[in-house]
Symmetry: C2
Subunit: 198 residues, 2 copies
């Protein structure tokens, strides 16, 4: 029903996460209405994504040079490593402007359902870094899910007998949320981790 | 915060309809995790979208040859023209498998809010076709919105004194819907256009 080149592009878009077939149709029609030069630039940037970028040799964040901007910044606390699942998590933390340490990108979480075990993550690399960089604190910032928790516990076990502090993102009510609608697990966490007001 | 080539691609995706900045980030990260060859093919298909496709010379649908598949099909009723806003509407109607006529793509709707007047649509082309092809019926399938209705009324006025029947998509309750939750305008339409059961 569609012309072939239209259909091919719809398939590309439909294969992206949270893009359904209907939305893919709309996106391609929108692109078709654009100037040819604009598509040319889009295609060129798409092609360059893999070739111009690589992983930071130290923390495995995405970067254009050998080391990422955070790792190259000597004003950051080099003995505090924040462990995250993927680069987007590191970017989210950077946006708060509150974190002054460096990162380590795991590249996933331990998930038996998705057939991801501990060997597919960059844990060996983390161990080596902690040893070489004399890390003071590992701050685990994985998602507050079963997979995130499993990974956090696994990391804690690795460093059990080493002189490094292991911390985790705080759990509790989201700012702007409503106690009435909070789920029981979140509320339990918020109660258990209650803080003294000073 | 992002590497430059990452940011550029995020901007491309974020400029697409119904893709927000957060979703664009996720899409680009997903693409970054793909094989380089896959991105290459995506980029190539994107580049080819405009070059390999053009508008059907008769109905202005998207096609790879001079005339689209519907216009080239001599078994279709050549004197019944369905007027739609854009190619996606024609595809939606084709998917029902119930329509046996041909199409005319307007390329938009009359919309004072979006600064679209009747001269930006392919109405002159429609007039010429109706004259040349001795059209029997113009079936207006624009959206059931103010803009769609305005455009439909405008088309009816153009052909007021010509021997061509003008019809419009039926209005009423959507199949599977609930009377209790139907809005008043839809319910009014459903009442006014009630049909005799035979």
């Amino acid at each position: 029903m569609y012309p072939k080149s239209f259909k091919k592009l719809i398939d590309h878009f439909a294969s992206l996460p949270s893009v359904g077939p209907k939305m893919a149709e709309r996106l391609v029609l929108h692109l078709f209405k654009q100037e040819a030069e604009k598509l040319e630039v889009f295609a060129e940037d798409l092609r360059n994504l893999k070739t111009s970028l690589n992983f930071c040799r130290r923390c495995f964040n995405i970067c254009e040079k050998e080391y990422c901007a955070v790792c190259s910044d000597s004003s950051r606390d080099q003995q505090l490593i924040c462990v995250v699942e993927d680069p987007l998590d590191a970017i989210a933390i950077e946006k708060t402007g509150q974190y002054k340490g460096i990162y380590h990108i795991l590249g996933g979480l331990i998930s038996p359902l998705k057939n991801k075990d501990e060997f597919s993550l960059r844990l060996k690399e983390l161990e080596n870094r902690v040893k070489e960089e004399a890390t003071r604190e590992i701050f685990i910032a994985t998602n507050p899910t079963t997979e995130g928790d499993t990974t956090a516990l696994y990391i804690r076990r690795i460093f059990k007998d080493q002189p490094v502090k292991i911390t985790r993102l705080a759990r509790g009510l989201a700012t702007g949320g409503d106690i009435e609608y909070a789920d029981e697990i979140t509320l339990t966490e918020a109660l258990t981790n209650r803080r003294e007001l000073v």
